[in-house]
């Protein structure tokens, strides 16, 4: 990380660009200076001539010289990211924010719920969890995407489903555009939370996905008996500087870039714009 100038990006080589779904790509990169991040922290990715945008790496945190971000095309920077080719130069600043408090999850029953592009930060978290899977009492993963063709990380999630240290259920909202190969469930991700055999009073739930998915998943989890303080959400805001100065990403008294992006639900639930 650049210690002297927090605005300077570190020169980074694009190693590969993988098409995950029609709207999502994963960029594999190699920063010229080591960037050590904690799972759940985010970086600012600069595309020369286009600008900068925040992403939480989807790769293994302990791989120090390589980093991956999984990006949905939604605006002008992400449009350019989708056009990136192997060998191009981009910039990375960070890491910023708090990341997941993994050490607090150890020894407990843990449920991870992902929706759509929210799989990206969660993949990084899952790599960490699998490294220490013996230290958890029970592990659950519930993941949902819109349709089979929108499903992210098909290979990895299929492998997770085969593991015996975790209980995995994958679902799609509808079968639209599927080719009949979908073997998972059909229905919103909230419908596959029912019947989970875990200690809801003391269990931890980590949720990451679009705001609407997080809103309804959180509601469901509370109905199921989870404590507000045991639900961890990844909040999305317009993080421009990443260092708690530019003022764009405020929720209540917090800056998402500095105090988040991971929040316990009880810390933010009273702010009316939390799901916007």
């Amino acid at each position: 990380m650049s210690k002297n100038n927090p605005y300077r990006p570190i020169e980074t080589e694009v190693l590969d660009v993988i098409t995950e779904t029609p709207t999502i790509k994963t960029v594999k990169m190699k920063p010229k200076e080591e960037i050590i991040f904690k799972t759940g922290q985010f970086v600012e990715l600069t595309i020369p001539g286009a600008g900068e945008a925040p992403f939480t790496p989807s790769s293994r945190p302990w791989l120090k010289d390589k980093m991956e971000v999984t990006v949905m095309q939604v605006g002008k920077v992400t449009e350019r990211i989708h056009q990136l080719k192997k060998g191009e130069t981009v910039g990375v600043r960070g890491p910023y924010g708090n990341g997941y408090p993994l050490e607090e999850f150890l020894g407990k029953e843990l449920l991870v719920v992902g929706g759509g592009c929210g799989f990206a930060p969660l993949r990084s978290l899952m790599y960490e969890i699998f490294e220490k899977s013996k230290e958890f009492k029970k592990l659950f993963f519930r993941g949902g995407c819109k349709t089979p063709k929108d499903f992210l990380y098909k290979k990895e999630t299929a492998e997770w489903a085969k593991r015996d240290d975790i209980d995995v259920v994958l679902t799609v909202d509808t079968l639209d555009g599927g080719n009949g190969e979908w073997k998972g469930k059909v229905g919103l991700v909230t419908t596959v939370l029912d019947g989970i055999k875990m200690d809801k009073k003391n269990g931890i739930a980590v949720v990451c996905g679009p705001p609407i998915m997080m809103k309804f998943t959180t509601k469901k989890l509370i109905e199921m008996g989870f404590k507000d303080s045991n639900i961890y959400l990844s909040m999305e805001r317009n993080m421009s500087c990443g260092i708690g100065k530019c003022g764009h990403c405020r929720i209540g008294p917090y800056y998402v870039c500095k105090d988040g992006p991971v929040f316990r639900y009880n810390d933010i639930k009273d702010f009316p714009d939390v799901w916007d």
Binding site: P210, S240, C241, K245, H248
Partner: protein, 357 residues
Amino acid sequence: MLYITKNNLSNLLEIIQKDYDIFVPVKRENNRFYKRYDPSMKFSEDEKLADENTIVLGEVRAFEPLKVFYNRAREIVADGFKAELPRTNPKPFCIVGAKACDLKGFKIQDFVFKEGDFQDPFYIEARENNLIISADCTCALDTCFCSTVDVKPYPEKDFDLNLSQVSGGFIAQAGSQKGQALIDKNPSLFGEAMDRAVAEMEEQRKRVTADVRKNIRQNSIPSQDKYEGIIQKNYDSPIWDEEAKTCVECGACNTICPTCHCFLLYDQMSEERMERLRVWDSCMIKDFAKVAAGVNPRPWLWMRLRNRFEKKFDFFPKQSGIYACTGCGRCITACPAKIDIRKVLQRLVKDVQKQPV
């Protein structure tokens, strides 16, 4: 106390000019603006009649907030991937005539740019290398309300040298080692202040303080000891919608505010010349908090007005312990929609007092 004549102050400025770019307030119509000092400029004999070539150290704060020098409207903060800081401030600068409200503005800007896990090296360099020669207010505008937010119309600290304008010259007080060094290195320019001059300064301070208090009384502006909880308790109040009705989203209130610091990092759209700029941004503008996917936490104007007041009187003071308002009144004058911070504060406090305990 020390005294310096206008002539000797001119001599002092010429000495300072060897090491610093000096900016002094001059007058254009009824406003004071900072202008780069040159030795042909003289101190005004009658500030009411002053023009663009006479220095006005009395009266009130200048039109521009001091952040224009420290956290500038548009500053290059990264030059491609180069590790060296882009050099944007070749020579340190000296601000002459800063007022007490301007100095309070630094408290907020300092908290943002100097504190926390990350610091802004450009701001810090400007703050460390500069020289601040402040001055007492010699009158109050009808929009001045500094004493509601614990600011007096004369600086007591946070300056290098302070000047209190009296007949024929100024009472000078050092507020830092740098300021003391200016006096110590140039002893011939300073003399012992006559009792009459000190009395004049004290009289003037009392008079201007009374003028500000009169403003506050006339406009029924509540003082800051009544601000606690006013935003939270009025969170869903119709006040916000009513006050925001005339807003045209020009962002003038943000631009002119000495405590507003929000910015956007903007990258030049040229791949050959990769420059990153830190550009002032305005939380009143619709897209300020919008994310790329389109979600906007504050889609309505009244929410953005409320956000502006939350910043000044709620979440920022919770973080820093300081209300982010200096009572300078710049936003009142700048707003084309006549949204008046004094009136909003008055309504907020009144509504809280009306609520049952």
